[in-house]
């Protein structure tokens, strides 16, 4: 089996994987980083979004082997020294999550959205989250949270 090495949440990791191993399987099964979820099989729901070299990527749609040497951040890598990332804090403050299953992917997508579009308006946020499905919240409080976080992310 081939070997893959990458940096995940600031830590160097290396493992043998079957070539067909998806990035999300590598994270969940090899590294026990189960915060990244699988909600569909057609790359639609976005529960698996992580950052690869700072950009949001659906981890169910890409092979682990494609990311040799990459810098990967998952939901587990956002909080620093026990302090929530502004986006995580805003989701809590504005009740942007209910069952929590879509939340990791939603938060990762939202951070990339704000990085790409500082100070987004409501429509930009709603369109920017098109690739993430939430069944619980009706999105209203997610939109509110992203707006609030963008104010705190120095955008």
């Amino acid at each position: 089996m081939p070997n893959v090495s990458m940096t995940v949440n600031g830590k160097a990791v290396s493992a043998e994987v079957e070539p067909r191993t998806l990035l999300v399987q590598f994270l969940r099964e090899k590294l026990s980083l189960t915060g990244t979820h699988v909600g569909c099989d057609t790359s639609q729901c976005g529960a698996c979004v992580v950052h690869v070299d700072g950009k949001s990527v659906k981890a169910c749609t890409t092979l682990a082997l494609q990311h040799e040497g990459a810098d990967v951040t998952t939901i587990e890598g956002l909080a620093q020294n026990g302090e929530l990332h502004p986006m995580q804090a805003a989701f809590k403050e504005h009740h942007g999550l209910q069952c929590g299953f879509c939340t990791p992917g939603m938060v990762m997508s939202a951070i990339d959205l704000v990085n790409t579009h500082p100070n987004p308006d409501e429509q930009t946020i709603r369109e920017g989250l098109e690739g993430n499905i939430c069944r619980c919240t009706g999105y209203q409080n997610i939109v509110k949270a992203v707006k609030a976080a963008s104010d705190n992310m120095g955008g």
């Binding site: 057609t42 989701f91 009740h95």
Partner: protein, 788 residues
């Protein structure tokens, strides 16, 4: 006291930290030592006889541990899945309950029906092996639509259910309704289809069966809204294990919406197989399996007729519905189009005579059961569509017509002609509040503006009612339920004054860990960070009935209050002893026990410590501070409100833009307004999804599910909605100690009718859900052509 964390405060959720940091523990995040993986081979056909199954090649594939078929379960004495609610047809016969094997034995009856269970060392190996199983099918012509199932010559889904008729049930006084129609000045009639939906909780269903050969205990981890009910059914009816040797754990569950109430084939097989192979076995659904096998929702064909006098007063309502049950009866399927539906057909109105006839039928489709609202959205949809249609027929304002027929705020308790007794409400107030929120006075000008731009604007109303807080055990028992619908709670003080509450309710997004903690903080003065809510494990929690029907706060919360009362009662005895006073003189408020008329007091924490370190303790009192209570409600609760939708349609493209949404809801007292608003947002989004986007479509000839993935089934996304305008009104529920009614389903109940009334108002013709762009475009074009 405790205004920032007690009742009425928008306390930020205690559960959020773990979900936001990736530390939630959903089922697929759990792994058991030595665990194997299971994959189901599923039927590619909607209806076929199984002539033979050859597993020889597959059994030799790498990593395969075992392969089981339906005959293996039958040989082991494993029973079929059950439906737990008996319905009696109008001829006195019980509903037809055909066999529902967890793995098909000789016939498959819907696409996705289980054919074999392959267990291997990895998922990939199990999948590879499943492809090597050879099944010889003899294909049959399926029946798909509920409306077609009763036709002579339709395929017979079960040999022992003639004509595919599960039951032919009625409610109400048919003669009184006939009399009302014969004296009516006006009759409005409407045919409507309530489209079939796929629930689509974001966490797919999953299960791990685990077996401890030392204790003979099976531990089933499952995505359940009601783990004790799963244990009861799997033990008493399916025969997996005795109840005391079966532990069911529902950890963090990623959404349910009803679809995780039911006891499914997959968890049944995992629990059984774990003992067979003496090893843990895990199954996780892929989304395509969720589409094929999660119990679907709705799917009603209905004809409704409303009789009115010359002033628009409702005289009678006649409703005929065909409800599609799918291929087998899911756990509570029979109750949804009967007692959860027809009993709500009075809506918010004084209609004196109502008659409903419901025919439940089998088809070669996935089973249909409760989905957010369960019967009550179907009822509200019928009533609110036909009331709006009636207003148009009469040339009357839909607001005025509703107000003319609303039950008056001073009429409670109000007995409807369909066996419900509404306990409280103020329907005109909700209507007026919603009208203000949407700026109804300015609507004519906004409509003119749309028309000046070549657009069609519409406004639609939905004054909904639901029966929640499910439910008084004696009442549901008399209506056929196989279970009681009480709830349990245990309030356990620890010696240092912190509290663990064990609840039979189950949280899968509703925020119980926060709302229930607020009850303890408010009433016992315990800081909210010192309250832990434990749920979802039959090994920890007293037997409980779980979460559905907007019941958790009204029933589960009330059980907590009963346990709190017991804690206070015991605490008073301890406090009296500690302060050398008589029990009768002890007053309690918010966790402080006082001797009446003095400044002597002890806190709840001091009392709890004394109860566990009873060095100075009443001689006739048990140590410990740990009380359990069970609460059986005295009535349903009746949340109600008015939602108003405003839309703009582009007749050239068929695009419907939802411009504005106003919701005024009465949920009784509110414990956490932030969480309640979130529930409304989510419910309305699902309702808008049903009206505009979502549709489970089966090919009528082959029975294939055409909308079987997120590529084909349109899930609502962030840019499909406006921000909603929400207010709550409050007529406290007189039936429970908290005065609460429940808020979980309201949005999904109210929204479809409001949106479809707005769309049909704009178009000037009736169309069915979902109002897709194509359908709306055709309707707009037909109206335009008719005008030309």
């Amino acid at each position: 006291m405790s205004s920032e964390t007690g009742i009425g405060a928008s306390v930020r959720r205690k559960e959020d930290k773990r979900f936001l940091t990736g530390k939630g523990r959903y089922l697929d995040d759990i792994n058991r030592p030595g665990q194997a993986y299971g994959v189901f081979l599923r039927s590619p056909h909607a209806f076929a006889k199984i002539k033979s199954i050859d597993i020889a090649e597959a059994s030799k594939a790498p990593g395969v541990v075992a392969i089981y078929t339906g005959s293996d379960l039958a040989d082991d004495g494993v029973g079929g899945l059950i439906c737990g609610w008996g319905i009696t047809s109008k001829d006195g016969e019980p509903h037809k309950a055909p066999a529902h094997p967890a793995i098909a034995v000789d016939t498959v009856r819907h696409v996705g029906d289980q054919v074999a269970f392959v267990i291997a060392d990895s998922v990939a190996q199990a999948k590879d092996a499943a492809e090597l199983i050879e099944v010889d099918y003899d294909e049959l012509t399926p029946v798909v639509s509920g409306a077609d199932a009763l036709a002579s010559g339709a395929a017979q889904v079960h040999d022992d259910v003639p004509g595919n008729l599960c039951y032919d049930w009625e409610l109400g006084d048919e003669a009184a309704v006939d009399a009302a129609f014969s004296s009516a000045a006006h009759v409005t009639k409407l045919d409507i289809y309530n489209n079939r939906l796929v629930p689509n909780a974001m966490e797919p269903r999953a299960a791990i069966g685990d077996f401890d050969a030392g204790t003979d205990e099976i531990i089933l981890y499952t995505t359940s809204q009601n783990p004790h009910v799963a244990r009861l059914v799997l033990s008493a009816f399916v025969g997996i294990a005795p109840e005391h040797k079966l532990r069911v754990i529902a950890p963090d569950v990623g959404g349910g919406f009803g679809s995780k109430i039911f006891i499914y084939a997959e968890e049944t097989v995992c629990a059984w197989a774990a003992r067979k192979i003496n090893r843990a076995v895990k199954w996780t659904a892929e989304r395509s399996e969720s589409f094929l096998t999660d119990a679907h929702g709705r799917d009603h064909h209905t004809t409704a007729e409303l009789a009115m006098d010359a002033n628009g007063k409702f005289l009678g309502l006649r409703v005929n519905t065909i409800a599609n049950m799918g291929a087998y009866l899911s756990t509570f399927a029979t109750s949804v189009p009967s007692y959860l539906y027809a009993t709500l057909l009075a809506g918010q109105y004084t209609t004196p005579a109502i008659y409903a006839n419901v025919k439940a039928v089998f088809t070669n489709t996935a089973p249909v059961d409760a989905y957010r609202g369960a019967g009550r959205p179907e009822a509200t949809y019928v009533i609110e569509r036909i009331v709006e249609r009636a207003a148009r027929d009469l040339g009357m304002s839909p607001v005025e017509l509703r107000k003319r027929n609303f039950i008056a705020p001073d009429a409670y308790p109000y007995e409807t002609p369909v066996i419900m007794t509404y306990d409280s409400g103020n329907y005109p107030l909700n209507m007026d509040t919603a009208l203000k929120l949407i700026d109804y006075d300015g609507y004519a000008a906004r409509k003119a503006d749309s028309e000046s731009r070549g657009k069609k604007r519409g406004i639609g109303f939905s004054s909904f009612i639901e029966a929640c807080g499910i439910a008084p055990s004696a009442a549901v028992g008399s209506l056929g339920a196989g279970v009681g619908l009480w709830e349990s709670a245990q309030v356990r003080f620890n010696p240092t004054g912190s509290v663990t509450v064990f609840t039979g309710s189950h949280s899968h997004g509703q925020g119980h860990e926060t709302t229930f903690a607020q009850l303890i903080t408010e009433h016992l003065g315990v800081p909210i960070e010192n309250v832990e809510i434990s749920h979802g494990d039959t090994g920890k929690v007293p037997f409980g009935m779980g979460t559905y029907g907007s019941r958790s706060l009204a029933v589960g919360g009330s059980a907590i209050m009963r346990a709190v009362d017991k804690i206070v009662e015991k605490g008073k005895k301890v406090a009296a002893h500690l302060m050398e006073a008589s029990v009768e003189d002890i007053e309690h408020a918010h966790g402080v026990f006082k001797v009446a008329g003095t400044d002597k007091q002890v806190t709840m924490a001091e009392v709890a410590f004394a109860a566990y370190v009873p060095h100075n303790y009443p001689p006739d009192l048990e140590p410990g501070m740990d009380e359990t209570a069970f609460y059986d409600p005295t009535n349903f609760t009746f949340p109600a409100g008015t939602h108003i939708a405003e839309v703009e349609i582009d007749p050239d493209t068929g695009v419907v833009e939802v411009l504005d949404w106003a919701a005024s809801d009465d949920f009784g007292n509110v414990i956490n307004p932030m969480i309640v608003e979130g529930q409304i947002h989510g419910g309305v989004a699902q309702g808008i999804g049903q009206a505009l986007l979502e549709n489970a479509v089966y090919d009528t000839e082959t029975g294939q599910l055409l909308s079987g993935s997120y590529m084909d089934y349109t899930m609502p996304r962030a840019d499909d909605f406006p921000s909603l305008k929400i207010e709550t009104t409050n007529t406290p529920c007189p039936g429970n100690p908290l005065g609460v009614k429940g808020c979980g389903e309201a949005g999904a109940i109210a929204a479809p009718a409001a949106l479809m009334n707005a769309i049909t108002d704009a178009l000037g013709v009736e169309i069915d859900m979902p109002a897709t762009r194509e359908k709306v475009w055709h309707a707009a074009q037909s109206v335009q052509q008719a005008a030309e």
